[in-house]
Symmetry: C2
DNA sequence: CGGCGAATTGAAACCGCTCAAGTAAAGTGG
DNA sequence: CCACTTTACTTGAGCGGTTTCAATTCGCCG
């Protein structure tokens, strides 16, 4: 599906919303075990979803940004398998299943919209597997930054300057490494001239080099 | 779902089969990109599914044994995202969707059967995530062996002596480590008295110790 | 029996982790 | 708005585990 077709479908869902939720940084959008009552889209801000592995440790499953659909885990399982926590003040639009179903009955675009939803779900599964597949921490970090930049670009942000909202600790948890390793990976990527980062602002300087670091020959 | 209910549903599907495939070790059951034309179950033997990551490297996604449903990737995506290769001479039973659909129309157990399929799909996703989550190679190996033993036991094999059909290289690829590391992990597990392994035959000697190695305190 | 891939084993390099100390940034209350 | 507190981040040294490279041995199949 093209980027513009995807945007159209997301906008369509966004306009269908019958509820707007304001969420402060650190607050929960939903908890593990909650029943799913609506489809939710991020209007602004960003969140993380967190699940509990069998060792009882918290593990970040995904980072969600503006225009992402959130809570898809529950569409498959009927209840949420994760906690969703805002990593900055955010606004989330919700569509009750009731309203969604009413609309889909008389909407010819429904199959395309469901395809949008399914594609997002699959793409995210893909990403997390891909990131974990990289053995070297620098590759993981490069992969993470490239993915984030692409996603930001797709929703209209300039890829010249990306705002990183998550903490090193959260990124580390997501990538399966330690916080110190994130510092060192950023330092290394910067030294090599692939990226530049100041405080929470980042830019990719050498895209090809970044890709080479993700997939070494 | 209980083990016996699961077995009943698998047997039901097995009896529905309208085609039997004999596959020699190393042969392909299907290729990446093939359209899915039927539901397949392993009657005997074992196979591996292999996908290509973006770096162009082959990566083993799952090992399938007797009574496993194979090719589920295509039920979600309409075409196969993996190659399926026999790791020993195997027999696969196939049910055309045509026949499957005819049967489900008048079968009251259909929802339970679909649940069996969905549960297998989910359980496998779970396993691969769990295995990759373990950072130490010995934990990965222990996790892999425990899972394999449990699966063998569930389909009626004695858990006193398990036949390992895959090569070290394949296991290494699956676990995201190197072949030499598999050798050393087995050596270490053996030294500790958790398992005994001779050639391709293995047994778990100390189940609790094995679990402790998977999840260190 | 010969050959060849599979498995084992050793040594050394590499990389991420732990621990620790110090600096920077963000949040809090007066 | 500043001082204070807390949290986030950086950086270094040493350790442990995995990879790499290389040399053998083992085991299977023709």
């Amino acid at each position: 599906m093209t980027t513009t077709a995807l945007k159209k479908n997301i906008d369509f869902l966004m306009n269908l919303a019958d509820n707007t939720l304001m969420i402060k940084k650190g607050d929960y959008l939903y908890h593990r075990g909650d029943a799913s009552t609506c489809i939710m889209l991020i209007f602004s801000g960003s969140l993380k979803t967190v699940d509990l592995n069998e060792g009882g440790e918290l593990r970040i499953k995904e980072f969600l940004i503006k225009q992402d659909i959130i809570g898809l885990d529950a569409m498959m399982d009927t209840y949420h398998s994760t906690d969703a926590i805002a990593i900055e003040d955010s606004i989330v639009k919700a569509i009750s299943y009731e309203k969604f179903n009413l609309f889909t009955l008389r909407s010819p675009e429904i199959s395309e919209i469901l395809e949008t939803v399914r594609a997002q779900f699959m793409a995210r599964k893909e990403e997390s597997r891909r990131v974990l597949d990289n053995l070297r921490s620098e590759s993981k970090m490069a992969s993470f930054l490239l993915n984030l930049t692409n996603r930001m670009g797709r929703i209209g942000y300039s890829t010249e300057r990306i705002q990183i909202k998550m903490t090193h600790k959260d990124i580390a948890n997501f990538l399966g490494v330690k916080g110190e390793t994130i510092s060192r990976a950023i330092h290394s990527l910067t030294t090599k001239g692939t990226i530049i980062m100041k405080h929470k602002t980042m830019a990719i300087l050498d895209m090809q080099l970044l890709k080479d670091i993700i997939r070494p020959v």
